[in-house]
């Protein structure tokens, strides 16, 4: 499994900065919103937690289709499926590599982007905590979605369609935690819920993804 995680990370780095690109997309979405919405600082502050979370979601989403697609196209996936590594481990490794290349850097870079959107000063700590806790769930759910759509042409768009509704709870609790934190209210409930979602997806999603992969490879 370690071999697979390392290979995926290496491929991500080789193929033109896997780290950089998810980040860059996050940055761009956050920058584009003010262009659309207008430059007023108070409105921006008001919508900042939501926009940051939606942007993180979209950035995670955009790299999902590559989780299995590349291995499917060049024929690695059947080879992996007939290898001694169980498919559940393959799915978990893929999710881990996706999180390291997307979720983790997103979390780290969210703070400076918060400045661009005039995020309330009290909210920063919560933003960091909520993203760190929530992004693994995004990667895990996304891996399941990628497994569902592997082998379909135009998988990218279909994938978004399938995965985004699954992201709604994470989004709601994540943004709520940051908003409450920013307003000085207690944010423990949404944080607990976020943690619960991540733990639950960690326990279930690799199995679901492996199941679905087996069907798709048939």
């Amino acid at each position: 499994m370690k071999a697979l995680v390392l290979r995926d990370l290496r491929l991500a780095v080789r193929a033109g900065g896997g780290f950089g690109l998810g980040l860059a997309f996050f940055l761009i979405v956050v920058v584009l919103v003010p262009f659309g919405v207008g430059p007023e600082a108070d409105i921006l502050r008001r919508i900042a937690p939501g926009i940051l979370w939606v942007a993180a979601l979209l950035a995670a989403l955009l790299s999902l289709d590559r989780i299995f697609a590349l291995d499917f196209e060049d024929g690695s996936l059947p080879l992996l499926a007939t290898s001694p590594l169980p498919l559940e481990a393959v799915a978990l490794a893929k999710a881990a590599a996706h999180w390291v290349t997307t979720g983790l850097p997103l979390t780290l870079v969210a703070v400076p982007l918060g400045v661009l959107l005039n995020l309330a000063p009290e909210a920063y700590a919560w933003l960091l905590a909520a993203l760190a806790l929530g992004t693994p769930a995004l990667s895990l759910i996304g891996t399941f979605g990628a497994a569902l759509t592997v082998g379909l042409r135009r998988g990218g768009l279909l994938l978004s369609l399938l995965v985004l509704p699954l992201y709604v709870p994470t989004l709601i609790f994540g943004a709520e935690a940051v908003r409450r934190g920013g307003e000085g209210l207690a944010a423990t409930v949404p944080m607990l819920m976020l943690g619960g979602i991540t733990a639950g997806t960690l326990a279930v999603m690799p199995f679901a993804a492996a199941l679905v992969l087996r069907i798709n490879l048939r």
Binding site: D71, G75, S76, L79, T82
Partner: protein
């Protein structure tokens, strides 16, 4: 020994082959022959466990088998060495130094696989078989794009390394590999039009 008994396989919900039975003793290979579209790929995928057969049994494959398809899972952004090292690690082994010579990859070791010619890239795909150390190989047109010299090299490896060590290989191919192995012609096994099985059956 690989034993296949009365196997029936379907593709896209339609039965393709039926009543396929054969035995491949340790240390020998079997060549599958048959015109395009008869079901060689479908049969090999069933043997490798990638799809369920409609009926019949396969014994002696399972955990010890490996499958190589038309596409060979070569990563363009990794070097030749890294490609092989990855598969070795997945199978919990080390890359034996001999494979580079056996598949004429010595001068290409440090090249990114994306810069190989089609034949070179296929040789890399085949070298994977020398790395993973599986006893039972299912090979789907392994020599596509290879020149005559490389075909002979591959046949030599198969005979002198893989089969000599007691391995088994089932190979679908349209050309003559120069391998002294029995040939199974698949034409007699084409599924009868009224053959049953397949997911469409319930609607017929």
């Amino acid at each position: 020994m690989l034993t296949v008994d009365a196997l029936a396989v379907a593709r896209g919900g339609v039965p393709v082959l039926q009543g396929v039975s054969f035995k491949v003793p340790d240390g020998t290979a079997l060549i599958l022959r048959g015109p395009n579209g008869i079901g060689k790929t479908t049969l090999l995928r069933s043997l490798a466990g990638l799809q369920e057969p409609l009926s019949g049994t396969v014994t002696g494959a399972g955990e010890e088998s490996a499958y190589a398809s038309h596409a060979d899972g070569v990563k363009a952004a990794l070097t030749v060495e890294e490609n092989l090292a990855f598969w070795a690690e997945v199978y919990g082994r080390a890359v034996p130094e001999e494979v580079y010579a056996a598949f004429d990859l010595e001068p290409l070791r440090a090249r990114f696989a994306g810069t190989l010619s089609s034949g070179q890239s296929r040789r890399l795909g085949l070298a994977r078989l020398g790395v993973i150390g599986r006893r039972v190989l299912f090979l789907d047109e392994p020599t596509i794009s290879l020149d005559a010299f490389s075909v002979r090299m591959f046949a030599d490896w198969l005979r002198d390394v893989h089969l000599a060590a007691g391995g088994v290989a089932v190979i679908a191919t349209h050309i003559d590999l120069g391998l002294d192995a029995p040939v199974l012609e698949l034409s007699p096994f084409v599924a009868a039009p009224e053959a049953t099985g397949g997911s469409d059956e319930a609607f017929l």
